[in-house]
Symmetry: D2
């Protein structure tokens, strides 16, 4: 199945494996007239690139993006934007052993079951490097949204047992610590926890939170194309994510209607909500409040500790995974979550333009 | 935007409002040759119909389904199956007051923002009655899956603060108590809790868990069409759902790689997993273990208690919502979760048939 | 495969067989705020209904449409519009014999090959009655386009060997003769030809031409979603159509660049074209000239004359098809062509709203 | 709108402009296990590359394809195949003048109307070079079809007034003359005609015919996803094409049912057709006969003769187009028609695998 595309009107199609020639994305349906250069995209890629700290893989790649098409005289022309990042620091030799067995927590066995064989070098298409295409494409979506006053604050909310404190929340420090946490003290504690994990040849998970400001009410559709439904798909499509929640999320299950309902109020002559338990959507449509959602990220499955598994002959064996692996993927996944959300929201925003006949007639009258 | 369709190969398109002439669904892409009659579908609708207990709306509707097309001599013919349920017990008068203000926790304000006006009778398209089309369509998907040995166990895992006990888990009692809980004692406690909610003109939320057995390894695609990503969209597209998690879900965030990785083992000559923290997918592809996922359901927003809101002029007012509302929607949503999952899984199963060239060649040779 | 939907943003999903309970369509993605009642749709259905003249099947059906959903207080609400036409005059007995053999020129053999069996009553899903759903859905598209100044003139251009004369072209007579020809003299000649066909138990084909006025320049996309490519699909998806051409069509093959190129001119301060060999599109995008395209319609395959065929056992037999069949389907197909074009054009018009960033920003500023 | 993708299960997404860095395609949904190397694709690109004869543009480009992803150990891995052809011989300077006016017969004016500006270098995205992506992607589809016994014979049927003779039809000479005609004598006459056109600074059109052998009965769907409807879209999406017909095509309009119906016969114990007026589809589904369809190709709009047009200020001017242009595009478009058909047919073939429940159950049992 053709499963490498995301979005309807603004659509990205990603391609590339961990150890192929490169990773790329084709961005189709981008409106014409957006000023765009490589640096607009590179700054997003730099947030996910390896080697930013001791907690990320030491694979040494600049992940420099090249624009191959879709730009004319510095602006998007309305035609597909093809973006390419060459793979550079490939140690395919590291993976020769992996060919013979199934790594726990990885998709190896599933790929073999589905396709009859697999590209075992670095996870192939299931590698985290696949997200380069998402981030590059999503950077364009984010730039468009920014022009419309829609902005993102995304961060590591927890790493292992360490959660940020609402009292110490400081968005300005997110990009200053290596863990993308908006709480310096929590970042320090999380660092200590990660060092302990590394000593024990173990790995950690965490949660990522994304807050979207400036969204108008009315985005998303009532039934299957709910804004939160598409966000859920966007976020669960990221390799390591095992859960998604919006607003109070799983907390709603033990709440009550009286507590969970957000009262509508009048603020500066506009309708607003007194609280935001809903997380910014009601009935799948944006309600004018900030969008707030979270992703649960599992611990990196590649660990150097001994593990039980089977080889391709079905024999039980003990393995220890070598290679250069992040002890936690949460910090680098922050920008992936943000850009996937950007694509989803932009697509809803474009789609919403055809909701009302009077606005359509008005659009074409001018 | 055309947002009332779900699924690619097996696709449902639902239509209808709470207080229109009826509710329906067109099921397109259903394979030919499935024996199908109204009763196959009705038994699923009966699990969501109102009036099953004191905890569900007293709206009195049989929700009897009629097959309008797509069946020839008792079997699906490969052409669209049109299913219709007439609305019967509509008290539109109940809603005249609602036209003038925005109910907290409902999509009223969002609809007005999007479309310029709304069908205020019973929530219109955002009504829970919209799920009739999903359940009717999903019943067909479930019947096909059953023929392939794929079965579902779905139930209320928690209602308000009451959670089922793994020790008392008994699938046979799910359909015997009014709350669809697999634990009679928890069901009793939850009943008591709900009675208290009703006395206080309040409402409750909960969680639903779904376990899918018999799924072969290899379903789902590596990138955006991950099986769990599509499940997340399917489940979040259900009105009251605010969260989705698979396997250990949000629990993975504080776990470690050593704990969270499922060891592969050899069992009866086949590859299996010693544990199922993954919940049945790795890299978005089914891994041969049971699929286990959960949905977080918010408390019914329609409550008789006094609430603050604004009217359409933006004036702050106090309201108290009348009408026939469920104090909890979790029990009736169980079958909606199950049928949405069935559609998602069947679609992945059909899609997977084109993954390997050797199997394609083999298919056409015969 | 789910193949009963057409359109992306404005999408119709048709269902129903010739001899089932009814025929219907779900129109999804219709903008909110369009005044709509049954009569708006009925007037289109009346143009294709049987029994209009001696040249159409004597099957006696009013084909009365019922709106089941999507309208609130006389206007479209933005939610799916479900339309239903009950089948009435079914003589299933007429078709019992057909079950055993393959009618030449019909899809019987193809259905059996694909699905393993077929609904042999009146062609089942391949019946011309399937187009009721298209016409009903397309009537809504046409009403929207009319509000934007986009109108259609569609007619039988030729029937058998009789072609209309450009000199005698009179749009006002199209709906006054039974053959939907804009040339009374040609209509008379065609009538005589058809009477001869009927005497000889034979049938006739023809061509349909559609002219669309008022289309702004800029609709359609440069590559695969060309306006003319989508029109071609729309028109070829009508059962009896074997060819599509736009502008000079097949005539371009023997033309030259000097002749075929349309010079741009300045007219009343606006850019226009001196000629319209292109038929209103250049590079797949509307060029501001009237859209002009044609469909080739094959002779009705159901004829009473003796024909050779095989039965389901593969034995060669001679048959003579009974039943109530049109000697020519061209006149009734005129409105089918028009409404399929309306859907295609409306979809392109809605899609085009997201082409330019400045217009998007402007749209949301207000 | 995201309009650069074609196909559902096997889907190509093309990108690139005439004078950008390159042209490419992402092929998604390609089944795993197909042996594939650059040469498999290059041989198709060589059939459309410039400089093959005096009748094609003298732009000197090898159009060498590079595979960037999707292949592992010489076989397709089931993941997206990214193909890249670098642009080499770009004379952007040739086009500076074109920026100021609208070329007749080109999409210049339409692009400006749609996007507010255009990439005027060599037609930008509307350039014939865009078809490189189609041919490269379609070469893969054709290789898969070949493994299933489905093969293509595609050729120039006419150029200007010169049409091939059925009596002299010789498939073996198609690739031996520069015009891809299966009739050496016609090729000579067409060459003479083209030389005359060139002398007169004029250009010619023609028709392309494609015959597909080995197709099983049952491909395509009954309603909107008819095999011929999708072929029509595929073919009309090629820039210069103005018409599509299948089987007897426009000829059916003056035929009769008795003549046009193909009798079914029994041949070697199998069901076949005595004639093939239908061109291989009935009711939109393949009927087991060869598929035969034609495309009408317009004369190259770029001609050196003086032409009337307007500039971007709306002033009427006279122009004469310089640059390196083909006097006829038919010969180079032959392989474009063939590969677009290959993608369409492969997609129908993959889609058809889910038509019957018994075959699905059977597929998963093994």
């Amino acid at each position: 199945m053709a499963g490498s595309s995301f979005g309807n009107i603004f659509r990205i199609t990603t391609w590339g494996e961990s150890h192929g020639k490169g990773i790329g994305v084709v961005v189709d349906g981008c409106p014409a007239g957006l000023p765009l250069c490589e640096q607009d995209i590179q700054q997003y890629l730099d947030r996910r690139k390896p080697g930013q700290s001791k907690f990320t893989t030491q694979r040494n790649e600049a992940d420099t993006v090249e624009i191959l098409s879709g730009i004319f005289e510095g602006k998007t022309s309305g035609t597909p934007i093809s973006l390419l990042v060459h793979n550079q620091d490939q140690h395919s030799g590291d993976y020769s052993e992996i060919a013979s067995y199934y790594r726990p927590g990885h998709a190896d066995y599933c790929f073999d079951s589905k396709y009859g064989f697999r590209d075992y070098r670095g996870g192939g298409r299931s590698s985290g490097r696949e997200t380069i295409g998402r981030v590059a494409g999503g950077a364009i979506a984010a730039k468009i949204l920014e022009q419309m006053g829609i902005t993102f604050v995304t961060y590591s909310k927890s790493i292992g047992p360490v959660t940020i404190s609402p009292e110490r929340f400081d968005a300005s420090v997110i990009s200053q610590n290596k863990l993308y946490m908006p709480d310096e003290k929590a970042a320090e504690e999380a660092s200590a926890y990660l060092e302990q994990c590394m000593k024990e040849s173990n790995s950690a998970g965490g949660t990522i939170e994304c807050v979207v400001n400036g969204l108008p009410a009315g985005l998303g559709d009532p039934v299957f194309e709910k804004l939160d439904a598409n966000l859920a798909k966007a976020i669960l499509s990221i390799g390591a994510v095992k859960g998604f929640e919006i607003g109070d999320g799983f907390g709603v299950s033990s709440s009550t209607g009286l507590t969970n309902n957000d009262a509508f109020i009048s603020r500066d002559g506009k309708i607003a909500k007194a609280t935001n338990h809903s997380g910014g959507t009601l009935g799948g449509i944006s309600d004018g409040s900030p969008l707030v959602f979270r992703a649960a990220v599992k611990p990196t499955p590649s660990i150097a500790s001994a593990q039980q598994t089977v080889n391709q002959n079905g024999e039980e064996i003990e393995i220890s995974i070598k290679g250069r692996h992040d002890p936690v993927v949460v910090p680098r996944a922050v920008v992936v979550v943000e850009t996937m959300a950007a694509i989803t929201i932009l697509d809803a925003l474009l789609s919403n333009m055809t909701a009302r006949l009077d606005k359509i007639v008005d659009f074409y009258k001018k």
